[in-house]
């Protein structure tokens, strides 16, 4: 039947239709604000970040050592409380050179988000963070990196207590 339909519905507007008042519209901000309970695992993660340390947790059943920590092994569905400190070094698993921010502002110098496999964890276990102190054209998958921490007095118990990871 699609071949028989001549006119499909749907009225296309231009941005100028709004700016120049040709189309009736209104705006609203949802004011949706939250305080999410960090709970056991992420609570501990944040406390340790404030101390300048990365911590993971191991499953006694399958032996996986993971970060970010969780209180259960998603593969074995068993509780985990075998906490282990991890080095703040790792390997770039993948990365991007991003020239736009989350709200689509353009950047001349790219942000470099990466998945960093943390040393000492099981294969393919990492976290997302930023790379810094590196020329964008030098970033490679497989590159060894280390966390650059904020000074202790500025740390708040946040993933941002690590400023970025830099090549080692």
């Amino acid at each position: 039947m699609s071949e028989q339909i001549k006119e499909y519905p749907g009225t296309s507007l231009r941005e100028s239709d709004f700016a120049e008042g040709r189309v009736i519209h209104n705006e609203w901000k949802p004011n949706a604000r939250y305080a999410w309970d960090a709970g056991v695992a992420i609570g501990r993660y944040l406390h340790e970040l404030k101390k300048g340390r990365l911590i993971g947790v191991r499953c006694d059943e399958c032996g996986r050592l993971v970060i970010p920590p969780r209180v259960f092994c998603e593969w074995c569905f068993l509780p985990m409380d075998d906490w282990e400190y991890l080095p703040d070094t790792g390997t770039v698993n993948t990365f991007s050179l991003c020239y736009v921010t989350w709200d689509m502002q353009y950047l001349t110098e790219p942000q470099i988000p990466a998945v960093i496999d943390i040393d000492g964890t099981s294969p393919y276990v990492g976290i997302m963070h930023m790379l810094g102190e590196v020329d964008p054209s030098d970033v490679k998958i497989g590159m060894k990196v280390q966390a650059v921490w904020k000074p202790a007095e500025e740390r708040e118990g946040s993933i941002l207590d690590i400023k970025y990871f830099k090549p080692v």
């Binding site: 209104n26 609203w28 949802p30 004011n31 949706a32 604000r33 939250y34 305080a35 999410w36 309970d37 960090a38 709970g39 056991v40 695992a41 992420i42 609570g43 969780r70 209180v71 259960f72 998603e74 593969w75 074995c76 569905f77």
Partner: protein, 383 residues
């Protein structure tokens, strides 16, 4: 016809105003562990599909579906999120089994209402953005307007509505999981501060955090897993007009239609005679009455008398919200319906402890999605 489907496992956390000791994932995990233990199943090897009930803006996360599989044992399995009442989630699990696709399905719903700092704003964000939201009114006004029309159109009085509150909060005294048990008089309810006339603060349920997981299984699988499978005899759901300008203000049409569908399937002709007890949405006091009428337990406009005469008390002919309902247990957002189902299953199994009813064979649970919706779902459960 379809395969029969039973609930073979239930797990829930206690319901409470705050839950800072666990994250939402940990809350869900606890309920899941309990449900799988109760059902005697291993989620990794036995559960074939999972259904979660959630809404993005109640979680503070877009695409909350991302965050559900791990703590339910569901990774690399079929999972789906139903933005509906818990009983819509239950219906989804039911259909997945009845279609022949799966034998064992788990359904989960939870509330971290305490984590939503601006809940009235979030609820207002559910209103029509052009016609209604610009009024910038606390959306509880919709319940106030509905109650006014209901009281006008029915024989019910504010006192009878208050009797519902007193009953449900008193019932909650016998439920260790309830967040808001109280021994209130009708006068206490009537004399509370106004919320949105004719509603007082005590006519409305307060929020609670909590999680519920149910395990469903087909036919013989259910019988092999459980000595006391609780069968889903009938299930139904319906939306009335969403628009504030075209909905039926005095009547809960969504409940009438959802009930009809569930009763048709369960072969129920006279609900008052064939159903032994009910766990029915009581987000607001008048809602229990409005829903009782809609679900066919009495003629339209007459439910107030049931409350006044004690017919819906624990010792009455139709005990309603013996668990304490949302008024007593705390309102669990969209998990409220699944809480009602879990409580009904406990009654049918004879595991309701100090609030156990005698000789119950058939129970009804009904959930409503709250203002500003006209969305409800009903399930008839039987031994």
């Amino acid at each position: 016809m379809s395969r029969s489907v039973a609930i073979v496992g239930i797990g829930y956390t206690s319901f409470r105003p705050l839950s800072p000791e666990v994250s939402y994932k940990e809350l869900m995990y606890e309920a899941a562990v309990k449900a799988y233990h109760d059902a005697g199943v291993d989620p990794r090897s036995d559960v074939e599909s999972l259904v979660t009930v959630a809404e993005d803006f109640l979680e503070g996360t877009s695409i909350f579906d991302e965050y559900v599989p791990d703590q339910l044992g569901g990774i690399l399995k079929p999972n789906v999120t139903i933005p509906g009442d818990g009983i819509h989630g239950l219906a989804t699990a039911y259909m997945q089994i009845a279609s022949g696709l799966f034998d064992i399905v788990a359904v989960e719903a939870h509330s971290k209402a305490s984590n939503v700092l601006t809940l009235p704003y979030v609820t207002a964000y559910a209103m029509d953005p052009v016609l209604n939201r610009p009024l910038a009114a606390n959306p509880v006004f919709i319940a106030g307007m509905e109650m006014t029309r209901y009281l006008w159109a029915s024989d019910a009085t504010r006192e009878q509505c208050a009797a519902v509150v007193a009953k449900n909060k008193r019932n909650a005294l016998y439920n260790p999981a309830a967040a808001y048990p109280a021994d209130l008089s009708v006068e206490d309810v009537l004399n509370a501060d106004w919320l949105s006339y004719p509603l007082t603060d005590n006519d409305a349920s307060y929020h609670a955090d909590g999680a519920i997981v149910l395990v469903l299984a087909a036919d013989d699988v259910a019988r092999s897993l459980s000595n006391a499978p609780i069968w889903i005899r009938g299930i139904g759901w319906c939306n009335d007009a969403f628009s504030l300008e075209t909905r039926a203000w005095g009547r809960a049409i969504y409940a009438e239609e959802a009930g009809k569908m569930a009763y048709r399937m369960a072969g129920i002709r006279n609900p008052m005679e064939e159903i032994d007890f009910a766990e029915i949405d009581d987000t607001y006091s008048y809602k229990e009455l409005q829903h009782l009428e809609a679900l066919g337990f009495c003629p339209l406009g007459q439910a107030g008398y049931l409350a006044e005469e004690g017919a819906t008390d624990v010792g009455g002919i139709l005990p309603v919200n013996v668990s304490g309902g949302s008024l007593g247990c705390g309102h669990l957002l969209d998990a409220s319906g699944l809480r009602a189902v879990a409580m009904a299953v406990m009654q049918l199994r004879g595991e309701a402890g100090p609030r156990q009813l005698t000789d119950v064979e058939t129970g009804l649970a009904f959930g409503w999605r709250g203002v500003p919706t006209t969305s409800g779902a009903a399930v008839v459960l039987g031994k």
